[in-house]
Symmetry: C2
Subunit: 199 residues, 2 copies
DNA sequence: ACCTGAACACCGTTCAAGT
DNA sequence: ACCTGAACACCGTTCAAGT
């Protein structure tokens, strides 16, 4: 042992991330541990710290991959819709669909408290901003008369609202069961909020 | 040692909960541990398990106290407002105010994953339902023409939405700074959603 | 009856030592 | 240079043994 060089650094990173994702999907984020991941990929714990700075950075990368998948699904929704109004509604429903289909990984994104004061890394913030801009562009064409600043507000309101409904629904804190009733909430939010905005 | 009987079971419970709250307020929920709480109150770890079933149940009680404080603040808001519309708006702002003022304890309520399948205990569910009913009653007088089922939907939408905006704002994921801009989001949500509802 | 303290099975993280 | 494995300082939870 020692100096195996069976895998490159990048291969070890990739294997670790995949092993971690399997653990999280199967047993939730609390089941994630460096030791389990290491044993899963056939290395020792120390090796993980050669490749990731610490658990925080490790989780940040896991979340980054989840966010990438979410944005890909958003892109698909956008490509599938001509009408901006229908597209916003579909995007919001898609947010819930994605979260429900990938509950444990999606929850990790929000359960992972960010490293105190230094805030989120740039490349992470970038990914969040990407989704925002999709939404802003759509809203712009829906409520064309409004000032840009109001579009920003509207995008944040919608994003935050759909997020909250999704979060509470998935953690069963809304007294809601089944996909239909969550859709009902999301539809009510989008239709009435947009109606109010363009009133 | 052994058989001290310095404190009753209830006193130990109360001391433990207070020590835990101090820990969480000062250092966040991750700093909470049975050993720290025990040493803080001058007992050993084992004693805590005499008084609480396990950490899950312990956290449930901490959260229950936080929720009680939240509902008290909601009650105060309701008592202070005659106009139903202004009251709904004030309640939503109050939700954010409370969360911001008690960030670490408030976050624990939602970061604590519930014990798998058996769901939330009854007395816990009851407290959530209490807040819901306040909101439903107010909405009823605002949109009197709607069916009861639609009131329930509207209450869930508002609750979930304000929760999401608050959550993302507090964890700094909304690109929003300062209390004024969060109020701006909450106001936009409430005014436009209600306008859409009564359209 | 009440509480201890040691034990068990885990953690994240570091780093001297091996090849 | 790469990886190990043991160490350190923690966890939650249990339970025989003391008073």
């Amino acid at each position: 042992m020692a100096r195996r060089s069976d895998h490159s650094r990048d291969e070890i990173r990739e294997m670790s991330l995949q092993a971690a994702e399997q653990l999280i999907i199967a047993q939730g984020y609390k089941a994630l541990s460096a030791r389990k991941v290491a044993s899963e990929i056939g290395y020792t714990v120390g090796t993980l710290y050669l490749v990731f700075k610490n658990q925080d950075e490790f989780i940040l990368h896991i979340n980054s991959r989840t966010l990438d998948e979410l944005y890909q699904s958003m892109q698909t929704v956008i490509d599938d819709h001509q009408d901006a109004h229908a597209c916003v509604l579909a995007l919001c429903r898609n947010y819930y669909d994605f979260a429900a289909a990938n509950a444990n990984r999606w929850l990790l994104i929000f359960e992972h408290a960010l490293p105190e004061d230094n805030g989120v890394p740039d490349w992470y913030q970038q990914r969040i901003r990407g989704g925002f801009e999709m939404l802003e562009k759509l809203l712009q064409s829906l409520v064309a008369t409004h000032k840009p600043q109001q579009i920003g507000t509207a995008a944040r309101v919608l994003w935050g609202s759909v997020h909250g409904i999704t979060m509470l629904a998935i953690t069963r804190k809304l007294d809601v069961v089944g996909i239909e009733s969550v859709y009902e909430l999301i539809d009510s939010l989008v239709e009435n909020y947009l109606a109010g905005l363009t009133r």
